[in-house]
Amino acid sequence: MTLNYMTGAEAVIKALVDNGVEVIFGYPGGAVLPLYDALFENKKIKHILVRHEQAAVHAAEGYARSTGKVGCVLVTSGPGATNAITGLTDALMDSVPVICLSGQVPTHLIGTDAFQEADTTGISRPCTKHNYLVKNADKLCEIIHKSFEIASSGRPGPVLIDLPKDIQLTNVKYIKKLQKIKKHNHYHSNVDEVLINKVAKLLLQAERPIIYAGGGVVNSGPKASKLLTELVNLLDCPVTLTLMGLGCVPNTNKNFLGMLGMHGTYEANLAMHNCDVMLNVGARFDDRVTGRLNAFAPNSKKVHIDVDKSSINKVVSVDYGIVGDCKEILSVLVQEVKKLHNQKVLKLKTKWWSQINKWKEKDSLGFKQIGNNIKPQQAIKSLYEKTIDFDTYITTEVGQHQMWAAQYFGFSKPNRWMTSGGLGTMGYGLPSSVGVQIAHPKSLVIDISGEASFLMNMQELSTIVQYKLPIKIFILNNEWMGMVRQWQELNHGSRYSESYTSSLPDFVKLAESFGITGLRVDNIHNLEATIDEIININGPVIADIRVEKEENCFPMIPSGAAHNEMILNSDDNVKDTSNEGLALV
């Protein structure tokens, strides 16, 4: 046997190394034993044993989103693969580059309902960007190399490779990664300078421009965020970010209006509603962002930059669509704006800013911390203030706490904020924080959690202990599926059907049972001291932050309403939700 021959399993691992993989999140089983055997004593790839395959994918997502690299997952056939499906769907919705290797029964048993057989490529087809069933060992290496290219190029996404056990055991000749793999032909940026020049002019001459940016900017890499900030400063125009885009313009930038959309700030949504020119960079006019479409930014010219052509004109028709990678398009756009700047074409926007400042005076994120009960908003605010000088990464679960985290925690850099936006997956945050902490062992990693979401993947506490990950789990415990309770209050006459989280564990004792620190606080006067303790403890912490139980998350665009129909607090006159609105998620 020459040096280049090895088992399929060894070739897979070698191909991963060739593609720069350092960490893989996984869980073993019969159909992947050869792969696990190849990993045994492998020095180049660190395997992180999770406690559920869904968590493996979320961990890989956290790893990917906090590093910009491809996250890697290894699961067994049948139940291993089906458990991974939620994670893959999450990665698809939020455009996260993930490679998932799944074991499969040997090729001659496929189709016989063999033990732990599932039609994994069939099940995962709609929730992956692409997937493969490797039936021919000669194609193995090429498929793996190609998968990395597919996962990370264009609009990133998950790729699944189904590996029958006999293929893992076959001898194959290892084929190296080609220096230059041919890109899928749809991923070329369309740097149309004439069009970009037109857009630059439009932006400079606008009276009421706004930039609205999203996760595409983060995905495009840190340079895109720098360019975007530069553009904002050059134009001196307001900028708002989607949930997925937080951090791509520093929260401290004076032109930043905060997040927009359903729980966005009043000034961001009103500026969107009243703008005359809107530049959308790497966002997709999601329904959480636009509100009622027929009243969305009614008098504006719209420009949309997106790497995915199908995002352009999908839900909102725009005047100019530019297909391309954000950093490539932005760098040309910034140049064009600079050129025109020298010719002093920039319109002054004094009136626009004074209008925006009036909206700001509403103080839509204001809240009153009175009495001894901890307001959840205050808990996040204090957490932010106490950690501002740390190298902090935040993950979240899904619910009110997620929205409060988005509203009250500030992000000065991209890749610091990991949240499930598109799919809204409860149970995302804890495993995601595992991936983040593995990638950034020295950093402060906090999972901002709700008590109900925490229960969805809390088995990962065991992973956290095994790998000594000093993750801080900050549970805003309101004893409710708060977001569900809020919708039932607003839309269903306060009939709180099945949204109370009863029979909760004692989180402090739960922590102790895993040998980690548990803390509890229920009085505002002890909040700051508790946060100090959380930060200073050298190891993982579960913090049970008992917050005001029936606090609602405001401001809010009720479902079916438009940006200018936001409600600011519970006292606001809430119009009865329209029948159309009731049907919306």
């Binding site: 749809h186 636009t290 199908s310 919306l584």
Partner: protein, 183 residues
């Protein structure tokens, strides 16, 4: 379309013929069809066969209905599928030929047999099988011609139909060979 319905008057839906060049590999067709069912688009006709053994490529001819916005969406969504290389909108791009093949079995006795043969001749259908109580005709042409023929046959007796779906290609000397070389 989003859950938030637009109020504007929706433009009329029209029929469009798309021609796709795709990798001939398992899963490609499932992805194409899954896209239509998952996103609620229509498929009126679909036809797929390998057309290039060396490059391992198939052509999918597909007839769909929708507003021009929907069709644009369909085309961009199709192009996101990794093994889909070329999507051509034949209806939009200029003159093209659309042809289909039908096999029509007619169970018929007595005087109607003569009538059936006469109609078949008028339509230039080929008679592929004859028994004392049945015929099988083969007919190619535009779908509308096939429809007319089948309607007539139905009025003569019990009819069974098998159709290939539309196959389409552009007129003139424009080819995709160059594009194919880049795949």
């Amino acid at each position: 379309m989003s859950v938030y319905q637009k109020n504007e008057l929706e433009e009329d839906e029209t029929s469009r013929t798309l021609s796709l060049i795709v990798d001939n590999q398992p899963g490609t067709l499932a992805r194409v069809i899954g896209l239509f069912s998952g996103r609620g688009y229509n498929i009126e006709s679909l036809n797929v066969t390998e057309i290039d053994e060396i490059r391992n490529l198939s052509r999918i001819s597909l007839v769909t209905r929708g507003t021009s916005n929907t069709i644009e969406q369909i085309k961009s969504q199709l192009l996101r599928i990794v093994p889909v290389h070329i999507v051509r909108d034949l209806t939009l791009e200029g003159p093209f030929i659309k042809s289909e093949l039908a096999l029509v079995k007619l169970v018929v006795k007595g005087a109607n047999r003569v009538e059936a043969l006469r109609i078949a001749e008028t339509f230039r259908a080929r008679t592929l099988d004859v028994t004392l109580s049945s015929f099988v005709f083969e007919l190619t042409g535009k779908p509308s011609k096939l429809d007319a023929f089948i309607d007539l046959m139905r009025s003569l007796g019990d009819t069974e139909v098998s159709r290939t779906g539309v196959s389409a290609i552009s007129r003139g000397d424009k080819t995709e060979t160059k594009l194919l070389d880049q795949i």
